[in-house]
């Protein structure tokens, strides 16, 4: 730490006072500087050497705070992944598709199916945001009902076989034909899930619940 300087002693004196010799209160002056308005002098301050000196002193004193506040602090790498990983564990998202081949069984977690459906929907022109879900709602309910009697021994909750119902919530660009965009999403997602995941029966429910208007450039 540096030794106190003459400036420091001046600041110490100011910070122990309530008012300046001109009658101006210390706290509002310090507030003015700390809030970044040091240069915005009022009529009294423009004529008053006491106020001007105090503002200059406080500006120098507060500079490290301003500098620290302006320094970017990024989130640690992996924070988002850690949070989402813990939440996924809490959800216990254990729904699976099940396909049996001559080489054995293939199981794909329903959340992966939802993610593929979401990413597929996002490629459709006019779609601005697409969200997929698998752990709540119709898909989980259907899986529970459909698989209650023939659950896979290694799946804690159930399997979907080769059937999937996917719910997608999407926001589309303003001006695009909503119905057409929604149909394109259904077609595109169904094709993706059939070709990439090997699902046989795919139902894609699309909810368009927001329209995004482009801002003027």
């Amino acid at each position: 730490m540096n030794e106190p300087t003459a400036d420091g002693q001046a600041a110490a004196h100011l910070l122990s006072a309530v008012t300046l010799p001109c009658g101006a209160e210390i706290d509002p002056l310090l507030e003015q500087v700390a809030d970044g308005h040091a240069a915005e002098l009022d009529a009294h301050q423009r004529e008053c050497v006491h106020c001007q000196a105090a503002i200059a002193e406080f500006t120098a004193l507060w500079a490290p705070v301003t500098e620290t506040a302006a320094t970017s602090v990024p989130a640690p790498p992996g924070l988002t992944a850690a949070v989402m990983s813990q939440i996924r564990v809490m959800i216990r998202d254990v729904w699976y598709t099940l396909q049996t081949t001559e080489l054995g069984a293939i199981r794909i977690a329903a959340r992966i199916v939802a993610a593929l459906a979401r990413d597929s929907a996002r490629l459709v022109p006019g779609v601005r945001v697409a969200l997929g879900r698998s752990s709540h709602g119709k898909m989980a309910a259907l899986a529970e009902e459909a698989t209650f009697r023939h659950r896979h021994p290694h799946a804690a909750v159930g399997v979907l076989g080769r059937t999937a119902i996917v719910d997608l919530a999407v926001a589309v660009s303003y001006g695009d034909p909503v119905r057409e965009v929604a149909r394109d999403i259904q077609r595109h997602v169904i094709r993706t899930l059939r070709e990439d995941v090997g699902l046989k029966t795919v139902v894609v429910n699309v909810t368009v619940d927001d329209v995004i208007i482009d801002e003027e450039p």
């Binding site: 730490m1 540096n2 106190p4 300087t5 400036d7 420091g8 600041a11 110490a12 910070l15 210390i26 706290d27 310090l30 507030e31 700390a34 406080f58 120098a60 004193l61 507060w62 500079a63 490290p64 705070v65 500098e67 620290t68 506040a69 320094t71 970017s72 602090v73 990024p74 989130a75 640690p76 924070l79 988002t80 850690a82 949070v83 989402m84 813990q86 939440i87 996924r88 809490m90 959800i91 959340r111 993610a115 979401r118 996002r122 490629l123 779609v127 601005r128 945001v129 697409a130 969200l131 997929g132 879900r133 752990s135 709540h136 709602g137 919530a169 926001a171 619940d209 927001d210 995004i212």
Partner: protein
Amino acid sequence: MKAGPEVGDNYLVARAREGYLDAYEMLVQRHSAMAYRVALRLCGNHHDAQDIAQEALIAAWENLDRFKAESSFSTWLYQIVTRRALNKVTRGRRRDLTDLLDDAVDPGTEPAVQAERNLAVDAVTDALAALPFPQRTVVVLHHFEGLSYAEVGEVTHSSVPAVRSHLFRARRTLGKQLEEWR
């Protein structure tokens, strides 16, 4: 696809409540830096800050059904982070004050300037840590996060005059600490 800043937090909160985990992941991506930054400035060390940010973001998801739409998601998250930081600070002593903003070193800055900046950051960190927690909180929210007095009052459940009074006292204390460093 252009996503992210185009949809509002309220839209994502509504979808997350319906079970769309993607929506909550987007909220986490948007707000994790804020949660960590505030926790770091309130508790003074990286490890506790990371724990607080992680716990707060998980707690927010667990309690989404209690979130009242009249305040913003960020205000609500500020509340959770500050409450958890208070719990952490009152449970244990600060382990290390010197790592505040360590991750934020600008590689293009001259070494001498960087050393001076680190000294300034250390001085501010020490001065912040010396403040009572309520004063530290209002300083962090107002002067570091840029929240208005009314917004700080919403986060801390205080009136605007109470926030202003805390800030008056906190600035004097900070000023006295910093003048010793100069």
